[in-house]
């Protein structure tokens, strides 16, 4: 049986990759079903004229050496992962015919997740599932498809359904999913079933050629060595025992109903990729002022409040402004579970030197948009620092008198301009005005540059101006 008589062109002339002396025969045991299935595949490749376009994925199992035989591109995958490898092979080469060849341990045990999800995505591939009800390669252990009572190396008393569960009917399972277009179970026992199996394989591959998506052909195959039967008895075992558990049937055929799947080819044009990743050429918003940079003394912020108050954005805006002025800057957000319970805070550093740790342990500026943040961060402030408190919702007095505390009705200012969400802009404007770090028109320029909606820009500018006036009137 190891000998292949009329060699289809899907096979190499001689199996030069196979070590040893006789490179005309396969490595399979006499009477092994793999050899028969291989032959059907090689014939189908030839008949459909897809040999050069084919990519054969070998699994881990007795067919791990599939690449000795098939005269096409070959990839050998990790145990059970062939459908994942095939997924990428198919997407990488949309015009190829990807044959994902797997045994029952590979597909129905270790690779259950990979096969189900490749099927569910409807990957354009043909899966050939060789069900021999045993682990051939590793010495005849139980497979998920092993029959009730079947003796294997790991079920010495026969498969006990109570302990080992039931033979898994993979074709039935796969056929329940929407995406697959063709799901069938065949056998390679007698001549008639072999012919039928071949028609199924061809149908699956033709459908893939037409880019219809995922096909699955399960094939009941012999493993005389694992079953400890001779080749003739093995064929009878399929006929009498296996077919009872695993009915030969086309479970699903919706090939003609489905439209071909789209093929995707990536662009290599620079402008397409820059557009896709939103990279746009910088415009210098402000002229570089070296004196400003040289005289800048490091500012370390914590900005905190409720989620939705624009806390994180206040931080990024400040940092962006600094970046546009040629300063070094970093912004680090609170994230994950920290964000639950509706609070948010960020660390921002502006400096004229390379910044080390991005964490701000002792801020010299705190912007507290709500009471919990005020309570949490007021004690951390560096002596002589500055706190901007959102007095619209924070009533308590300051506990620290070694820092400057400005009370700004940020919510009121924002609401009076028609944008409740702009309390953060009121805070930034107040900070810039009081610290005299830079004129507020710099912030206005940035808002005009970064914001998309005209109406929002105007309202935010109104907030910025109003907050600045408030600070000038009450604190300067």
């Amino acid at each position: 049986m190891g000998k292949i008589l009329k060699r289809p062109k899907g096979f190499f002339e001689t199996f030069d990759r196979k070590p040893g002396t006789d490179q005309r025969v396969t490595h399979y045991c006499p009477g092994c079903g793999h050899g028969r299935v291989h032959k059907l595949l090689a014939e189908a490749m030839e008949e459909l004229e897809v040999i050069d376009r084919s990519i054969f994925i070998s699994p881990v199992g007795c067919s791990v050496f599939g690449f000795y035989y098939f005269n096409c591109g070959n990839i050998q995958a990790a145990h059970g992962r062939a459908p994942a490898v095939a997924t990428a092979a198919s997407r990488s080469n949309p015009d190829s015919i990807v044959i994902c060849y797997q045994g029952d341990g590979d597909l129905a045990a270790i690779g259950t997740a990979e096969i189900l999800h490749a099927a569910n995505r409807g990957e354009n591939m043909t899966v050939i599932f060789v069900n021999n009800a045993i682990y051939g390669m590793t010495g005849g252990q139980m497979a998920p498809t092993t029959l009730e009572g079947q003796i294997t190396a790991t079920t010495p008393l026969g498969r006990d359904l109570a302990n080992e569960g039931y033979p898994m009917r993979m074709a039935e399972i796969i056929s329940q999913l929407h995406a697959p277009v063709y799901v069938a179970r065949e056998a390679v026992s007698d001549v008639k079933s072999v012919m039928k199996a071949k028609r199924s394989i061809r149908k699956a591959m033709q459908s893939q050629k037409d880019h219809k998506g995922f096909s699955f052909v399960e094939i009941l195959a012999t493993c005389p060595t694992g079953w400890k039967l001779d080749p003739i008895e093995s064929i009878q075992y399929i006929e009498k025992e296996m077919k009872e558990q695993f009915p030969i049937k086309v479970f699903k055929d919706v090939i003609s109903e489905r439209e071909p799947k789209a093929k995707h080819y990536p662009s290599t044009k620079k402008e397409d990729i820059f557009a896709a990743v939103n990279l746009v050429e910088n415009v210098d918003l402000f002229p570089r002022d070296q004196e400003f940079i040289d005289n800048f003394s490091e500012q370390r912020f914590r900005i905190a409040g409720f989620g939705g108050q624009g806390v994180l954005m206040a931080g990024t805006t400040l940092a962006y402004l600094a970046m546009e002025h040629g300063l070094e800057t970093t912004w680090l957000p609170s994230y994950g579970p920290e964000m639950r319970g509706g609070t948010a805070n960020c660390h921002v550093i502006l400096s004229n030197k390379k910044i080390g740790a991005p964490m701000v342990e002792t801020p010299n500026v705190l912007i507290a948009l709500n009471l919990p943040s005020y309570d949490q961060f007021e004690p951390l402030l560096e002596s002589g620092g500055l706190i901007l408190v959102n007095s619209s919702i924070i009533e308590r007095e300051n506990k620290r008198d070694d820092v400057t505390t400005l009370r700004i009705p940020m919510n009121e200012i924002a609401e009076s301009c028609g944008v409740r969400a702009a309390a953060n802009m009121a805070a930034l404007s107040a900070y810039l005005t009081y610290s005299k770090l830079m004129k507020i028109d710099r912030l206005v320029t940035l808002i005009k540059h970064n914001f998309k909606k005209r109406d929002l820009i105007d309202k935010n500018i109104a907030v910025i101006e109003k907050a600045s006036e408030y600070v000038t009137k009450h604190y300067l």
Partner: protein, 350 residues
């Protein structure tokens, strides 16, 4: 100029596209998920491939398939997900396939938490998967380096045909800083070993199985030769104030940012301390570190771990200089006061 104020994780996604990466397979996990979010947004827009895989195991094996087909491919995850990927990494190394893998480290073991840690050093730098292999490991400490090292990772992966890691952490992934992106897109080249599903490539085969000990050892020796070459050519590091340093602080990634602040403060107080920051963790920059050990009195290693990289420092200086270690775990970040105090103690010991 293409300058952006951007998160480290997002910089990775953009850089990958500029490096000519057209395929990404991944599974979400905090604190790496900004990468998968960004890729899901960007890649389909230029016809690239993005698949949210069913697991990290599937994702790395999809990456294996894409790499076998000559595609520039990337996958990203964080510590628990990287543990799952190790099978695939070993296969990539065995089959000599280029692939870029990002690890945004979080705290462990087990599910741990999502705060920054550097506890994956052993898993990433010393192997992780089975068998005799090495992976180049790049260690960025800023969003700019997230960008630059991602691009470099694709170059090195292709040059040496193997998986390359970018090993970073939760904070370097989350932090936003200005990043200057290159003004070009690298082009994928046709590889003479890859599978393209056409006549020209139909004679190619990608596998890692070897029939016998002789063949397997030949492969091992060939790989080893390649690894020696990488050790010779690709070690990268940065140093700061080492010339007159009595004590040199060795740290990487986010720890090196913490150490940098501490070193600046200590210098202001007159302590002669400097910094050595490996940018490749394998190959470890042993030659330069050895030279430095001739000059300084001692080394201090800072990591967010139980002491993993410190082993490489000790191996390198071969007991000629004392090497002290300080680490925090669980996602805890040492305060400046704490680090400065520890460094002073280390300094004053000798």
């Amino acid at each position: 100029m293409f300058k952006e104020f951007i998160k480290g994780n997002e910089a990775i996604a953009k850089a990958a596209a500029l490096a000519g990466c057209t395929q990404y397979y991944g599974y979400p996990i905090t604190p790496s998920s900004e990468i998968i979010h960004a890729v899901a947004d960007y890649f389909p827009k230029f016809g690239g491939t993005f698949v949210q895989a069913e697991s990290e195991v599937a994702a790395i094996n999809m990456a294996f398939g894409a790499a076998a087909c000559g595609k520039r491919v990337m996958t990203a995850s964080s510590s628990p997900g990287i543990s799952l990927k190790q099978e695939g990494v070993s296969y990539l190394a065995g089959a000599e396939l280029p692939c870029v893998i990002i690890d945004i480290m979080r705290a462990g073991p087990g599910l741990g938490n999502i705060w920054p840690e550097q506890g994956d050093y052993h898993q990433i730098v010393k192997g992780g998967g089975h068998g005799n292999y090495k992976t180049i490991v790049l260690a960025p400490n800023s969003p700019q380096e997230m960008c630059d090292f991602t691009i470099l990772a694709f170059e090195l992966a292709e040059k040496y045909r193997g998986p390359v890691y970018v090993l970073s952490d939760a904070y370097t992934g989350q932090v936003m800083e200005p990043v200057i992106f290159p003004d070009e897109v690298k082009k994928e080249k046709r590889q003479d070993w890859a599978i393209y599903g056409d006549k020209e490539s139909s004679g190619n085969v990608v596998y890692s199985i070897q029939m016998n000990t002789v063949e397997q050892e030949k492969v091992n020796l060939r790989l080893d030769k390649k690894y020696r070459e990488i050790e010779k050519c690709e070690a990268r590091y940065e140093e700061y104030l080492v010339d007159d340093a009595e004590m040199i602080v060795v740290s990487y990634g986010i720890s090196s940012r913490i150490a940098h602040s501490a070193v600046d403060s200590l210098r202001e107080e007159g302590f002669k301390v400097g910094m050595f920051t490996p940018k490749t963790l394998w190959p470890y920059p042993v030659n330069r570190l050895k030279q430095l050990s001739e000059k300084c009195r001692s080394f201090a290693v800072l990591e967010l771990s139980n002491g993993q990289m410190v082993e490489d420092v000790r191996l390198t200086v071969e007991g000629k200089r004392p090497v002290d270690f300080y680490g925090r775990m669980g996602g805890a970040i040492p305060s400046q006061e704490e680090v400065i105090g520890v460094f002073k103690d280390f300094y004053n010991k000798y």
